[in-house]
């Protein structure tokens, strides 16, 4: 799934959660495309981690692609690279 939002922050997380939940229910392999996302925050990372956890528990694959520089910096700064990666 590809996020259309430019922002993925605490203001967006509730909507995106619904989207994630749908995707999880429909698909056996989850790919989150963040190409459009320019701004993320920790709540977004938290939501992504929640999705990843669900995937692992349901034995589904999980992948984040096209992470942009700005967003990547946040992930790196918070030390979540390896938690979101693999």
């Amino acid at each position: 799934m590809k996020l259309e939002n430019e922002k993925f922050t605490v203001y967006e997380v509730e909507n995106i959660k619904e989207a994630f939940l749908n995707e999880l229910n429909q698909s056996d392999s989850i790919t989150v495309d963040l190409e459009n996302v320019k701004e993320i925050d920790i709540s977004a990372i938290q939501l992504l981690l929640s999705l990843k956890r669900s995937c692992i528990e349901d034995e589904k694959s999980f992948e984040i692609i096209n992470l942009k520089q700005e967003a990547l910096r946040v992930v790196q700064l918070s030390g979540c690279t390896s938690e979101l990666g693999e």
């Binding site: 605490v10 997380v13 509730e14 995106i16 959660k17 994630f20 939940l21 999880l24 925050d41 920790i42 709540s43 990372i45 938290q46 939501l47 981690l49 929640s50 999705l51 956890r53 669900s54 528990e57 946040v74 700064l77 918070s78 030390g79 979540c80 390896s82 938690e83």
Partner: protein, 745 residues
Amino acid sequence: MSEELDLFREDAEEQLQIMENSLVDAIENGVDSDKIGGIFRAMHTIKGTSGMFGFDGVVSFTHIAENLLDEVRNDRIEITSEMLSTFLEVRDHVEKLIEFAIEEKDLDSETEYKGEELLEILMQHLESSSSATTNEDLETIQKMQELLSEGKKVWHISLRFNENFFTSGKNILSIFSAFDKLGGILVSVPVINYIPRIEDITPINTYIGFELSYKSDVGYESIEEIFKDILDDIIISIFEHDDLVGLKRLLESQPEGDDSLEELLVHKHIFDVDIVLDALIKSEKKLLKAMAKKEEEKLNALNNPPIVEEKIETIEPPKEEVIEKKIEVVKEVKKVEAKVASPKPAKSEKKEPKKDKVKSFSLRVDSSKIDILINQMSEIVITNAKITDVASQLQHTKLSEASSMMNELLEHVRNGIMNMRMVQVEDSFTKFRRIVNDTAKKIGKDIDFVISGGDTELDKTVVEKISDPLVHMLRNSVDHGIEIPEVRVASGKSEKGRVDLRAFPDAGSIVIEIEDNGKGLDRDRLLQKGIDAGLIDPNAIPHDEDIYNLIFSAGLSTADKVSDISGRGVGMDVVKRNIEELRGTVSVESWPNKGSKLTIRIPLTLAIIDGFLVQIADTKYVIPLEMIEECIELDSNYKEQMKGNEYINLRGEILPIMDVAKYFGKASKETSETNNVIVVRSGTNMVGLRVGELFGEYQTVIKPLGDIFQNVPGISGGSILGSGKIALIFDIPKLVEHHLNKKAI
């Protein structure tokens, strides 16, 4: 080399030895947690101390090995025999790395290549583990350790947020940015196990937390300052990275039964597993978990009754009823702890063997300090001998008494000091196990290597000096003594050869035997070689023993082919020389198709001996007391028997008599008056020394004589008497050997 570096080297050698012993033991007798623990600690210690000296190469290499061992230790990776062999290579490689590091040399290409190869193997194993550590992690850990070892401040910050943190308009990212400005975040690990599944999450609530390691020279206040605006919305704990109490408090603050934090800290290598366990043990609340984790180690140490072990195993299932049990277990554990802690166990309780508890600690002392002590001790002994002398001259009874008492006390002190230098030969012997196994493997032989008498104590310097000769002899036994399996079977022996290494005390010396059940020495070939080399008179019929002992002659090898292990004919003569330098002797016995036995005899101590003082002509001599069998008087009966010959019949045995004065060219009228014979024994040979006046027992401090005396056979040193005069100390084995050989020719 600086003193610190010396200590480092010593310590590293010791650790590597422990590692090797554990590995060899594990290969032979199977793996257990003690051995893995030992191996792990060795790597861990070396890594730590190398870090102190900035030996980065050693640190980074040992770190990977340590990681893998940690995984093994925590049952995340199963150890295989290949892995054990790899660790042996790792051990060797670390030894090399340390050598290069100490000598401040760059690695040679061979070592470098080996290192890369080993790292690759280790990483492969590590990657097979679920919680593999990435290279990135390793770098940060390394950095952290460097900083800590440089004495830089590293803070640990544990950060949790109130549930509504996100909606309070505050931003976690700005905290991270602030941190970045103030110093540098070394490690940031998100705490994610409280984040629910996507169905259950309320995305605007805060579940995530962070554990940060943070390098900064600023103080606690400056760090707290960053959080001052949000203190109401967070739960924070800040402490220095090496502050065990801070860590303990943090772990205590975690919910009961939740050990996710400990696991995170250890797995992400923010803290060393040992440190976390230490903190846990200090924390009463978490005692239970610590117990469960430290399992065998701790439990064994407590020597607890088996009930506790059973109960601890039941902790695993996360059921509510377990809590009750937990309390029970804690009580139980506490009881055991109390039992151990209380100096007087209650009578009703079973007595705990205290041996494990009252562990004596050892002190590392520079051996030169002990040498100085021994030297001074020698001076005191000499001075006291002087007092004894004066007392007897003055015929002062009380002074005599006092000085003899003093003598006794000095003997105790002397023994005490000597004892400090004594070490058990066990460790040194175990080291040979690998050499024997490796050698055997290399040449396709199967060998049982049996060590006995490992608890025999020997002077540390002697142990060190005897080590190389022993290695050489063992290699010889394996290479030349034991046959290849096919040959063994063909000659009706078991396929597996056997090499025995034994040590035991015997008559004031230590005997070390190396015995193999191989083919034995080739007598005829040795004889031929001996004749060829001009060592044996072709017309003489030499004794078997003399032929076999030819192996100690320079330049004689009976091996048909020279292997890289042995057979060059240099070696056994060096072995003999080395042993003789220790005032020891070496001999060989051999039985065709049954094997051979090398016997080394070395004195217990080097500096002081108990001697027997005698007068011969106008000089006083000391005979080492342990060599003396008895003293007899050469009465007219014996003299009649002798009839000018140089032997007597001592209770049915022929005893050669040596006129020492004549031997040293002192033949004079006095010799006829010398009617005392001291019977000395060297190995199996007995000789009677004809001497003058007997003065009795004398504590002899050995002082080396100058080079002039080097070629005088039979004198090993000198000693200063109480009167200030010099007494010469007999080297009995040499003297006897010389006397008997002279007679044979």
